[in-house]
Amino acid sequence: MAMEDNLIKNLIKKPITLRFPYERAQSVERMRGKVTWKIEKCIGCTLCAKTCPSEAIELIGEGRNAEITYHVGRCLFCGECVDICPTKTIETTKEFELAFTQPKDMILEFRRTKRDRESSSEE
């Protein structure tokens, strides 16, 4: 009989469950979701690919022409690549609803535009 007071109180209170997807929890500032690249800033130092614990980042090309292939399915969302990038190319987003229907959708590619490639090869 000891919990009866709590039971009666809960009859009046609103339930604590959030009705996803109509109600969502508030996201906090430091939340780590998917990462994304601003590919124009990348200098191709390969530090992110070397430090990733699960080999989710692949570099194609080298130096200022480097382009990124990112395997979302392997990513741990640990944030190591964000911390180690010297030019702050990589950023964390708050996206966590990452269900895909096809396996090939899980591979995201960050490619440079043609103008970017031409200007970098001129240097």
């Binding site: 009989m1 919990m3 039971l7 809960n10 009859l11 209170k13 339930p15 604590i16 469950t17 009705r19």
Partner: protein
């Protein structure tokens, strides 16, 4: 004038007969689940129908469509017949409870005894169903069901006879008629009402007495081998047992259909909801007992108190 036979057939099939009882079964399950969820600070059924009221019906349809497996070592005929028998036996006593007006569809002198007898048969049927399943877990569950019946049968029958002695008749309809002119038995025999609630919890196999069916210990106990259509029928039978339990509580102790106005189904319905509320509250409040603790507790406390209550009733009836 509509001939009597047509009225009788309509009464049996529509109201307060089969259709009404089936929908009441689904409604009572929804009410129970929603109340327990509210006590636990969550929602309960929510999406199917307005406020989830069609959820039990959806569960029933889903179970009917699932694969139905009979174990190779089980006795086929008793195994298949047991859910059907249980559903029939659970629904039959409901015809003796007055829902529309002061007398039930089937009422004769002694129908209270018939109701008590059918409730005992259901408990025996559980044991039989567990035995023919030939599974270790269901054997343990069936043994526990049999032992539990040894415990609660006697106090349950004693406190059901109490109102009969007070009203001077063994028919549920007569008891209700007596209460509509006299006082409700819950005021004159409160101890009997409390013991009836506890014994009905044991009969329904609901926490704190869901020992034969303990989910975390023996994986659903006696009903572990039933699947598909058989499980759907067993769950429906369980809902009918809940209606029967709440109806007995209202009819024997709280006046049934009688109240401030003429006997009508709305009063019965409101009292049914109150009794389901009491049962759900007790369900959310306790942990589960062990079988030896249950038997010791019942024989040490409930049976003497029931005998005390019935002696007080006898003395007052002199």
């Amino acid at each position: 004038m509509v001939p009597e036979e047509i009225t009788a057939i309509l009464q049996v099939f529509l109201f307060p007969g089969f259709s009404f009882l089936f929908s009441l079964a689904f409604f009572v399950e929804w009410l129970d689940r929603k109340l327990v969820a509210k006590f636990q600070n969550r929602y309960g059924p929510l999406h199917v129908g307005p406020k989830g009221i069609l959820q039990p019906f959806a569960d029933f349809i889903k179970l009917l469509s699932k694969e139905d497996i009979t174990p190779a070592m089980a006795d086929r005929v008793p195994f298949i017949a047991m859910p059907l028998l249980m559903l029939t036996l659970a629904m039959t006593p409901l015809f003796c409870i007055p829902i529309n007006g002061c007398s039930a569809l089937v009422s004769f002198e002694g129908d209270l005894i018939v109701v008590m007898f059918i409730m005992t048969l259901i408990a025996l049927l559980l044991f039989a169903g567990a035995w023919v399943s030939t599974n270790r877990f269901s054997t343990v569950g069936g043994i526990r069901a049999g032992l539990q019946m040894f415990g609660y049968e006697i106090p349950l029958n004693i406190v059901m006879i109490g109102p009969a002695i007070g009203a001077g008749s063994l028919s549920i309809s007569e008891i209700i008629k007596w209460q509509s002119q006299g006082r409700w038995f819950i005021i004159t025999q409160p101890l009997g009402f409390a013991i009836l609630t506890i014994c009905l919890l044991a009969h329904l196999q609901v926490v704190p007495f869901d020992i034969p069916e303990a989910e975390t210990e023996i994986v659903s106990g006696w009903l572990v081998e039933f699947s598909g259509k058989k499980l759907a029928l067993i769950r429906l039978a369980r809902n009918f047992k809940l209606i029967l339990a709440a109806s007995l509580m209202t009819s024997l102790y709280m006046g049934g259909t009688s109240g401030l106005w003429q006997p009508n189904p709305l009063t019965y319905f409101i009292k049914l909801v109150v009794c389901v509320f009491i049962l759900s509250n007790l369900r959310a409040l306790f942990a589960r007992f062990r079988i030896d603790q249950f038997l010791a507790g019942v024989w040490r406390y409930l049976t003497p108190l029931a005998l005390l209550q019935i002696s007080i009733v006898e003395v007052l009836a002199w």
